[in-house]
Amino acid sequence: MVKINGESLDTGGKLVSEYLLEHGYDLKRVAVEINGEIVPKAKYSEATLKDGDTVEIVSFVGGG
């Protein structure tokens, strides 16, 4: 299981980019952290979500 934004999900083995697109995230508006480390944008289609990972996805909205 992978813990994403506090929720345990059965998505081990999936690429970060796959997960984001499948869940409707706009890749230009997110920041992704795995186990406390930022995932560089250039690595989204290489980095894999592994069982036991803790993932935080922040999706920014407009206004300021």
């Binding site: 406390g36 930022i38 922040v58 920014f60 909205v61 407009g62």
Partner: protein
């Protein structure tokens, strides 16, 4: 009445904040990225507290559409926001050291422009720009503190604006969902709440309080 001296300012701040805390504030440096509704309010709050050095960054000029929520005046329309905000800050906290850059931050210039400050504050308007700054800062400067804002549009409850520690050195303020849209604009009061959360977290970090 003449302007107070630097020593008078420091003494007044020490009296309110304590000598030790005031020293921490005076030794600190903060970069404020974007000087709109968030950034103009954040910069003023930090200057009032006596933060030693502020680095103000924005490429834009003051427009009539800014006056609903940003700390600018009719007399400042058309001026660069960096210039307009410096004018205000000089009148509020004349001894804060200010560096201003009228430039649009991007992946290429962030590493050099933000290298000197301990704390980086994201105060942009567009979500793509927010994400760009956050990603670039976290990649280039993992040891710096980063405080960002997301979700403050509309008339949702004031109590839904909060501060969350997302990562070790990354804090996010706002309700994280209320986006600007055609039917949901920005009100000064709610933007100020988010700005106050960002400014407050920065002051807490200066005071070595790391929790949100």
């Amino acid at each position: 009445m003449g302007a107070p001296t630097k020593d008078e300012f420091i003494a007044a701040l020490q009296q309110r904040h304590g000598v030790e805390m005031q020293q921490k504030l005076m030794n600190s440096s903060v970069a404020v990225c974007g000087l709109g509704g968030l950034g103009s309010n954040i910069a003023i709050a930090l200057a009032r507290a006596g933060v030693g050095r502020l680095h103000l960054i924005d490429f834009d000029r003051v427009d009539i559409s800014n006056l609903n929520r940003q700390e600018y005046r009719v007399s400042q329309l058309g001026k660069y926001k960096t210039e307009a905000l410096c004018e205000q800050l000089k009148d509020i906290a004349p001894y804060v050291e200010i560096t201003a850059d009228t430039v649009k931050l991007d992946e290429d210039n962030i590493p050099s422009l933000l290298k000197n400050e301990d704390i980086i504050c994201e105060a942009f308007d567009l979500p793509e720009e927010k994400a760009m700054l956050v990603n670039t800062v976290l990649e280039c400067f993992p040891d710096k503190y980063l405080v960002a804002g997301s979700g403050m549009a509309g008339l949702g409850s004031a109590n839904s604006i909060r501060t969350r520690r997302v990562m070790k050195n990354f804090y996010l303020c706002g309700d994280e969902v209320s986006a600007v849209s055609e039917t949901s604009g920005l009100f000064s009061a709610r933007v100020m709440l988010c700005a106050a959360h960002e400014a407050m977290m920065i002051l807490r970090l200066i005071a070595d309080k790391k929790e949100a």
